[in-house]
């Protein structure tokens, strides 16, 4: 239903009063040619101008006006408060800079339109009716007046396109949508820890080593997530009694014991391979690359060692420096020279060489194991283990999701609160009374004006033509 805005309603009712006054003024202007001000004034102070009909009309006028104002979609405001910890630093929940303008961004308004099922309204039309500003505004010119706003007021002033939208229903919806927007864009995304591994489907194209790596990766991501939340709030306990640390511990144990110690070990020891030739070739290629890499680190190690050997004692000049060690104990350090760097470098290369050598040996062992596996493509125990580990990850994922979700709900549910400013009809009542009084005066003035006789009916001016001629002649003499 098409509704008028309160301002338009007030203007319309005021216009009626103005029209009546205009009629009065026009009539008075006409009479003023024939009557003095005093005469005209006298008509306005007669008791006869106050009629019961005027009271009745004014009563109806008042009722109509008040009813229209109460039913009209009117100016409404809501106070949106940011209640998360980072807000006082002018930041979003994820630590990025907070931008107040996002309260009325296209995304939020689109969500509001969709959620409220508002028809025939666009984001731009809605944007024109909304104003957002901080409830408390500081000042940049005075240090003591610096203020980071965490409360904002949104004013809704209906336009002709949005008359059908009631501000009191619309603004809380907008506040809710803004909260959703903030959570979607700046809060933790729990999708990362939702795992639903289906071994038969997910692993049908993967080799056993790839499956092992995949399971390890999944468990590690979940564990990292839990550890991050644990650092954020280590004391949080979910309704199921789980903490971030307890879930992280489970995942760590799963990764280190079940995946690395059990699954990986079994794959290596049994030499099972879904595609043994490809696996062997891949491993051989990796070994080849590692050997090249190892050659480089060996060269680096030898060259650095040679450089240390070349370094002449006479050129090695150092100064002792009193300092403390990592335990806070006094320690006699020394200034570094090139010799130190070369020695450290050589040691690093040596470590890398050893590490690469270990990797090569490991891969060679796996190759040997696969070769000794007599082409076995599957292993029931390994398959069972994979299913068990997958189920465990799925289970831990659910636990992690529950703990994280409860924590997120606790943290985010109240991250944005909207409080409507209650709509008061006191002002409407006052304006209605003023307009009604105006209406009463206008009506009474109209009655008074109608009581003033027109010139044609004025008896003092009813003269014969003869009298007119006579009067004219006498005036001429004067």
């Amino acid at each position: 239903m098409y509704k008028l805005s309160p301002t338009l309603i007030k203007l319309l009712f005021a216009f009626i009063v103005c029209v009546i006054f205009a009629i009065v003024i026009v009539k008075l202007f006409g009479r003023s040619k024939y009557y003095s001000f005093e005469t005209l004034k006298s008509y306005f102070f007669k008791k006869s101008i106050i009629r019961p009909m005027s009271f009745l009309i004014c009563f109806i006028y008042f009722l109509l006006l008040m009813t229209s104002l109460i039913l009209a979609p009117s100016f409404a405001s809501i106070k949106v408060s940011l209640n998360y910890a980072e807000a006082s630093k002018g930041q979003n929940m994820n630590g990025t800079r907070y931008n107040m303008s996002e309260i009325l961004c296209d995304d939020v308004l689109e969500r509001t339109i969709k959620k409220g099922a508002f028809k025939d309204i666009t984001v731009d039309q809605l944007k024109e009716t909304l104003v957002v500003y901080p409830t408390v505004s500081g000042s940049a010119s005075d240090k003591t007046m610096y203020h980071v706003s965490t409360e904002f007021q949104i004013d809704y002033i209906p336009s002709k396109d949005t008359y059908h939208i009631d501000g009191e229903k619309f603004l809380p919806l907008l506040s809710d949508c803004y909260r959703e927007f903030l959570i979607d864009n700046y809060a933790d995304d729990l999708d990362t820890i939702s795992a639903n591994i289906k071994p038969e489907e997910d692993f049908k194209d993967l080799g056993y080593f790839d499956i092992c790596n995949y399971l390890s990766m999944k468990a590690e991501i979940l564990e990292n997530y839990m550890l991050k939340l644990e650092r954020e709030n280590g004391s949080f306990i979910a309704s199921n009694g789980q903490t971030f640390n307890s879930v992280a511990s489970k995942l760590y144990k799963l990764r280190s014991t079940r995946i690395t110690d059990d699954l990986y070990a079994m794959i290596v020891n049994t030499g099972v391979s879904k595609s043994n030739i490809t696996d062997i070739k891949s491993l051989q290629y990796e070994v080849k690359l590692l050997e090249f890499e190892k050659q480089k680190t060996e060269a680096g190690r030898d060259i650095s060692a040679k450089a240390v050997e070349m370094y002449k004692e006479a050129m090695a000049r150092i100064v002792l420096v009193p300092t403390v060690n990592d335990k806070g104990e006094f320690y006699m350090g020394q200034t570094k020279i090139g010799l130190d760097e070369l020695a450290e470098e050589s040691a690093d290369y040596s470590t890398d060489t050893a590490s690469l050598g270990r990797q090569i040996e490991d891969k060679n062992n796996i190759i040997a194991s696969i070769m000794a596996g007599n082409g076995a493509k599957t292993n029931e125990s390994i398959d069972t283990l994979i299913v068990q580990i997958s189920n465990a990850i799925n289970e831990y994922s659910q636990e992690a999701s529950q703990v994280a979700l409860e924590y997120s709900n606790k943290k985010m549910n109240q991250c944005v609160t909207g409080v409507m400013y209650s709509k008061s009809h006191k002002k409407d009542l006052a304006i209605s009374l003023i307009l009604t009084i105006g209406m009463f005066i206008a009506l009474s003035s109209l009655i008074a004006t109608n009581q003033i006789p027109k010139r044609e009916t004025e008896k003092y001016f009813v003269k014969t033509d003869e009298e007119d001629d006579k009067t004219s002649g006498e005036e001429a003499n004067i």
């Binding site: 024939y34 940049a140 610096y146 060259i303 006479a314």
Partner: protein, 627 residues
């Protein structure tokens, strides 16, 4: 002419003054409201310890004017979808300002240190950023632009001085450049290795950062990328090498032969340099030892650190020179060339391995394959199927990499915003103040109009006095003249008179004979006498005295009563009789009176006619004649 009375003039025009002042003030108010400009301001502080030295975290000079750089404004326009025809980059730049905030304590400290001839090194790290909105744009516009400028600047600052972008190019390009399969894998592997290193470093340094847009941390991305690399890279490379899969064997082998040639050249260069370095080191040690410079004990150690940094004119350090001693430089040089040589040798070995792999014949003996085709290509019937499968797998791998690189990019963008907000804190969020104090200007305008109107009223009033005296006043009697009376009659013609309105006509009948007998002066004196008497008897009543010429006086009196007027008439007669001038002759006059109420007369002309009709002759005897 009437006396100069300011209050009279103002009082006369008071309604006009009030109406004009109100309307003009309203107009001024609306005018300024429409031309109101708004300034949005925010206070930011650079939190990095180097900021107080005027530097960014990367050590470069902190330049706050970058907040209004073209790069920032371009993104602001793009993000806010501003109309480029209306808002240009230069326009936004010109409306943005950034200036330092000097803390009063710091200012005092700076002053006192300068007074004491001490060096004050601290640079400002708190700044006010402002944006001005033009008339009609509104305060919301000013605030939203400023917020967007700060958002973009925070991210830009972080990207430029703290965190760099992760290169994600060339992955999608590897198809377009028509690389051979082994080269495609080399490019992908190289990029993945670089990215893994970056992700590992960032993950280790930012354990608590997790992007809301992707839900992932750098370590998560590292783990996922590592997994993709482990699944595809070695397997696909092994397949390429095992089945000698190539687009053109000749081009591929040429490419690796060129690598061998380049590396051989590098080895030659390194060997030459190594010989030189060894000689140089030997000579250097010998000379230094011979000179005694190496016989250093603790007494030779300087008490303070040697910090002869290169400074600018203001004494700010602009460069920390490398203080590594020459001997170490020589040793490092030898080491670097040795390493380069060894790496080149290993790269040659790798290139030979690839060439051998693609050149060898799997059938034993010489191969029937030509220059372009490999042995497997010719001998293995499944080659095409394997090749197609490989291409599909490479595509799958690249798609997976592109997907994860997209997440890396999103995470990195958010990380830039995060690290920007960490390094630049908001001390005061954007506030908006008005450019014009409309209330003050309106008040000033109201006062101005009041003064102008009062002045105008005084001028007009006085001018009217002058005009009235010149045109509508009988100079001899001081009464309104005939012209004035005619206007009065026209104005009131048709208006209905109130009860209590009187018209008196006094017609001096013998003033012509007085003029003839006693002279014009005496005649004038008689006129003045009558005028004074009329003025005297009507006193403070609301009356309009008119001298109508030819010895005729007319007086219109309003709001009076018959008793009062009749008393006035008798007093008028008495005063003329008791006159002090022209006592030597008679004054003969007609006097007529009419009243609106009693005679039910409403038009003024009728009242005048009635007064004229009611005239009676009165003779005021001269006292000297009787004597």
């Amino acid at each position: 002419m009437k006396n100069f009375e300011i209050t009279r003039y103002i009082k006369k025009f008071l309604p006009f003054i009030i109406i004009f002042c109100i309307l003009a003030t309203l107009f001024v108010n609306v005018f300024f409201q429409n031309r109101q400009t708004y300034y949005a301001e925010a206070v930011i502080r650079f939190e990095d310890p180097l900021a107080v030295e005027g530097k960014t975290p990367s050590g470069e000079k902190l330049d706050i004017s970058e907040v209004k750089s073209s790069a920032v404004m371009t993104k602001v326009i793009e993000n806010l979808k501003l109309d480029v025809n209306e808002y240009s980059i230069d326009d936004l730049i010109s409306r943005t300002n950034a200036y330092e905030v000097l803390d009063p304590d710091e200012a005092a400290l700076k002053e006192s240190m300068i007074d004491e001839a001490m060096e004050y090194k601290k640079e400002p790290n708190v700044f006010i950023i402002s944006f001005s909105a033009r008339a009609g744009e509104g305060q919301g516009f000013a605030r939203s632009i400023l917020d967007e400028i700060l958002d973009v600047y925070f991210a830009e600052y972080s990207e430029k001085y703290i965190n760099s972008e992760i290169t994600t190019t060339s992955l999608a390009e590897i198809y377009n450049a028509d690389y051979d399969y082994i080269e495609m894998m080399e490019i992908a592997s190289s990029q993945v290795l670089d990215t893994l290193q970056i992700l590992q470093d960032r993950g280790a340094n930012n354990k608590d950062f997790r992007a809301a847009s992707t839900g992932k941390s750098f370590m998560d991305l590292y783990t996922e990328l590592h997994y993709i690399d482990s699944v595809y890279t070695s397997r696909l490379n092994a397949t390429i090498l095992e089945y000698q899969i190539t687009k053109n064997k000749e081009v591929l082998i040429s490419s690796f032969e060129e690598r061998i040639r380049q590396n051989t050249l590098n080895i030659g260069m390194s060997e030459a340099s190594l010989g030189d370095y060894l000689k140089l080191i030997d000579q250097y040690v010998r000379k230094m030892t011979a000179s005694g410079n190496t016989d250093i004990t603790y007494e030779y150690i300087l008490d303070e650190l040697y910090d002869d940094y290169r400074t600018d004119e203001s004494g700010n350090v602009i460069e920390r020179p490398d203080q590594t001693v020459t001997y170490d430089e020589l040793i490092y040089g030898w080491r670097n060339f040795s390493l380069d040589k060894q790496k080149a040798i290993i790269d040659i070995a790798y290139a030979n391995y690839i060439i051998d792999t693609f050149s060898k014949c799997y059938e034993g003996g010489s191969c029937s394959a030509g220059k372009i085709q490999s042995c497997v290509m010719v001998s293995n019937a499944d080659y095409e199927a394997i090749k197609t499968k490989l291409e599909g797998e490479i595509k799958t791998m690249v798609d997976s990499l592109v997907k994860i690189y997209d997440e890396i990019e999103k995470t990195n963008i958010e990380y830039n915003e995060y690290i920007g907000a960490e390094n630049i804190s908001t001390l005061s969020s954007s506030t908006v103040k008005q450019g014009l104090n409309v209330t003050l200007y309106t008040l000033i305008a109201a006062l101005f109009f009041l003064v102008i109107c009062c002045g105008g009223a005084i001028l007009l009033g006085r001018f009217e006095d002058i005009m009235r005296y010149a045109l509508y006043t009988d100079h001899m009697t001081g009464f309104d003249n005939r012209t004035s009376f005619d206007n009065y009659m026209k104005k009131n013609n048709g208006k209905m008179l109130e009860d209590g309105t009187f018209c008196m006509i006094l017609n001096l009948k013998n003033h012509i004979s007085i003029n003839k007998e006693f002279g014009r002066d005496m005649g004038d004196n008689v006129m003045k006498l009558v005028a004074n008497v009329i003025r005297n008897v009507f006193g403070k009543m609301k009356f309009k005295p008119v001298y109508n010429g030819n010895g005729q006086f007319i007086v219109i009196v309003e709001k009076s009563d018959l008793v009062s007027v009749e008393y006035i008439m008798s007093r008028l007669s008495t005063l003329i009789d008791e006159r002090e001038v022209f006592t030597e002759g008679d004054i003969i006059y007609d006097v007529g009176l009419s009243e609106s109420g009693k005679e039910k007369v409403r038009p003024i002309r009728t009242l005048l006619t009635m007064a004229n009709k009611n005239k009676i002759e009165v003779v005021s005897k001269g006292r000297n004649i009787e004597e």
